[in-house]
Symmetry: C2
Subunit: 467 residues, 2 copies
């Protein structure tokens, strides 16, 4: 198979534009069709979060395409979670005991624009906007598009069509509706939705909260978070049930009730948000869904990547990172010089799916951890111990969070299995008093490792695929 193959990509979001850039670098003839207008020319943000967490897996992909310097300029480091309690007290819980390990807040729009600019520098890459995919004929390897400006409808074909068209993927829907093969598929919504709000910068452009942290107001069954933007503002997100509890999205319909809710629960945040009511009633409430499916590809004709294949909830900050990692893994398979697209797609999906399934499950775990557990004494004790261990033994101890976020050479599934066993070991050891924060750290690490190994071995014998 030569590089002169025609690749049609549906969707020029983060995954699609990175993929276009990489395939362009490899010499393929790449055409990208995006249903939205060009985000470099008009402001669009409807339904998509404004900033995102960017960490080591994403960074590895950015290095692959040689953009690390440009991307670094867009990043605001966040060293830990800044937790705001109900009385307005704060304390910071770092993401790692190793000082070089942190996550970053980055603007979705800026990053996407950078990737589009770089992709378009390749004359073998063409990107078309306002072109909405209507359906894909995966047996003929053709896609039907509608030009939103001219209203024309047209068919494009290619050697392979890759759908990076997000959680609402038209290619995936074509798989589902055609019923030509057994298509496993799930869409699972949390009971909670989210709404974006904003803390504006001070008049002089300064940040109104500590800049280098991900701020969380955990309240058990709901929470508020805030991530910094380069302009000194914070994008704030409220995660709340649609219909459970005293306050929920269904009953927050009046200004007085919204104010009462924020006064009771988030008084310190409210003080920074004079624009709260405007934002609250202007911005949409959006659902939180997880999508899994299989197979991702149909023969060698079509392939799903990114959110189109595996949309996840945002609570591990891994959505974009996982999609970027897709491009790394796909690129690795291209290096294998397999004989055709079918072999490439099979090999890619076989290696990748277990990892995207794992991060989907981890992200749901973290939903509960963030809104609830971070305010729980035994979880706080565990995090303190983990920070101490990572500081004392930077090469020997790695928390689950660090495995997922900072160990880009360990797959998500391995991180999940090891990390869950280790978390379970630490929580049980702390609870039973067999280890304590003030104990000798070396001895504590040995006990944790033994217990973790015992848990993994027990699971293995019992034939459980995961705990």
């Amino acid at each position: 198979m030569n590089n002169k193959q025609n690749v049609l990509i549906i969707g020029a979001g983060l995954c699609g534009s990175l993929l276009a850039l990489r395939l362009g670098q490899r010499g393929f003839n790449v055409s990208v069709y995006e249903k939205r207008p060009d985000l470099r020319k008009v402001e669009i943000s409807a339904g998509r979060s404004i900033n995102l967490a960017f960490s080591d897996r994403g960074y590895k992909a950015i290095k692959l395409v040689g953009l690390e310097k440009q991307v670094k300029q867009l990043c605001i480091p966040m060293h830990g979670r800044m937790i705001h309690d109900a009385h307005g007290n704060t304390f910071q819980s770092n993401y790692s005991g190793r000082p070089h390990e942190f996550i970053n807040s980055i603007s979705r729009g800026d990053l996407n624009a950078l990737l589009l600019n770089e992709a378009e520098k390749h004359e073998n890459v063409s990107i078309y906007f306002d072109q909405a995919c209507q359906s894909v004929d995966f047996e003929k390897t053709t896609a039907l598009f509608k030009d939103y400006k001219s209203q024309d409808v047209f068919v494009e074909d290619a050697d392979i069509i890759i759908g990076t068209d997000g959680a609402g993927s038209v290619l995936r829907k074509s798989y589902y509706l055609a019923k030509k093969f057994l298509f496993s598929f799930s869409q699972n919504y949390l009971t909670h939705g989210y709404k974006e709000l904003c803390i504006l910068s001070k008049e002089n452009g300064d940040f109104r909260l500590h800049k280098n942290a991900l701020h969380i107001w955990p309240r058990g069954s709901f929470m508020l978070i805030a991530l910094p933007n380069l302009d000194g503002s914070f994008t704030v997100t409220l995660f709340l049930s649609y219909d459970e509890g005293q306050y929920n999205f269904n009953n927050l319909t009046k200004e007085a009730v919204v104010l009462e809710f924020f006064k009771n629960e988030f008084p310190d945040a409210l003080a920074l948000m004079p624009n709260l009511l405007d934002d609250f009633f202007k911005n949409p409430t959006a659902p939180l869904g997880t999508i899994k499916c299989a197979p991702w590809h149909y023969k060698g004709n079509t392939l799903l990547m990114g959110d189109a294949a595996h949309a996840i909830v945002p609570f591990y900050g891994q959505g974009m990172n996982a999609s970027f990692e897709d491009v790394i893994e796909f690129d690795k398979v291209l290096d294998m010089k397999l004989k055709n697209w079918e072999e490439i797609c099979k090999t890619y999906a076989r290696g990748r799916k277990k990892d995207t399934d794992a991060i989907a499950d981890l992200a749901i775990d973290n939903f509960h951890e963030m809104k609830d557990h971070v305010a729980n004494p035994i979880f706080q004790e565990k995090r303190k111990l983990e920070m101490a261990l990572e500081k004392a033994f930077p090469n020997a101890y790695v928390s689950k969070y660090s495995m997922v976020t900072f160990n880009e050479d360990m797959g998500y599934r391995e991180a999940m299995l090891k990390g869950r066993a280790q978390d379970k070991a630490i929580l049980n050891l702390l609870h039973s008093g067999r280890i304590q924060l003030q104990d000798d750290l070396k001895r504590t690490l040995e006990i944790i490792n033994q217990e973790t190994q015992a848990i993994l071995a027990d699971n293995e014998i019992a034939g459980f695929k995961s705990t």
Copy 2:
């Protein structure tokens, strides 16, 4: 809410006909629309298994409607699994150490006919055949039907519409396609499909294999099973991958290859199946899917029950039993005298879904146990020990299989959590040598109970919802 409400049931399969009977007994005006012809008048079996495993949860529902005597006459007790190894040797592994606990083979058609006959005895119950539901308007509580004989299309309304229309439910599809609310949904296929075959009776009507067992030929990655029928025949089912392994459904396309496969793998079964090739090429290969969804109801207008809400794979023999248990649980909620159908549906779904999710997962576990683990020495040792414990301590020891199958007053979810912890305890204790088959049983039971409790407690502390 009075009993004179009009209830429209879509589908007169096992769940729909039992539900119609029970609601008829309670005095509701019940109309049932079934797309197939009346199975009491024509022979139909396409795509549906001919006989089924009937056990204590199903029996409890049958007692609720007062049909235990009639149903017993349709039952063939199966006391255990009769395992056939590759050399034709057999050994029996009982389902329980308590002699009164066994499962039954029952004809789907005979049981369905009995339920239809009994339902129709109520003048407030009407059943219409050859009436295919096309779609449901769940906001108006109306359903669109097509009469297959006259080709007429018509709309019916009711106070509530209950979809018992199976794994391919039209009501569920209406929920999914309308996109009027957040509908979580999954369809997951195993890599394996199944095909039904047959061992005919001897000329004198006798059984060609031991009558009172579920026969299994476990072969690691595939298996054959056989359940007895009242006429002396066995319905045989081959579970095999579509495309993996040396032999699979995709490559078993020639008579010689099918014969070779059976000669190599199931020589003793082949000797009893002179009709193998006819059956193999005449009968369809069907997929094995699990369906979960939520919510099951839309306000108080419509409700999914049975396979329409939760289709599962057949490996725990609980598909029909779970659907019958739905009717018991729904009946209990009706006894609460709630104020409207919405409260009834909410209460029913809240209590029931966790249990049907659990049996779906347990059924997949048992797929691996049946095709593979039953032939594994440590699993065999575990089952021997469990039989000895159930015999020696009939009130104090209950295996996971017994909790699921014979303890109809314990929910599936509780059975799953306790049963998985207990299985894990026993396997680990046997593996480490801390318990052995020849040890004092009382002491062994104490150790197992302690270890099981420790596993449950550890899971609880670590915040795991299940192992």
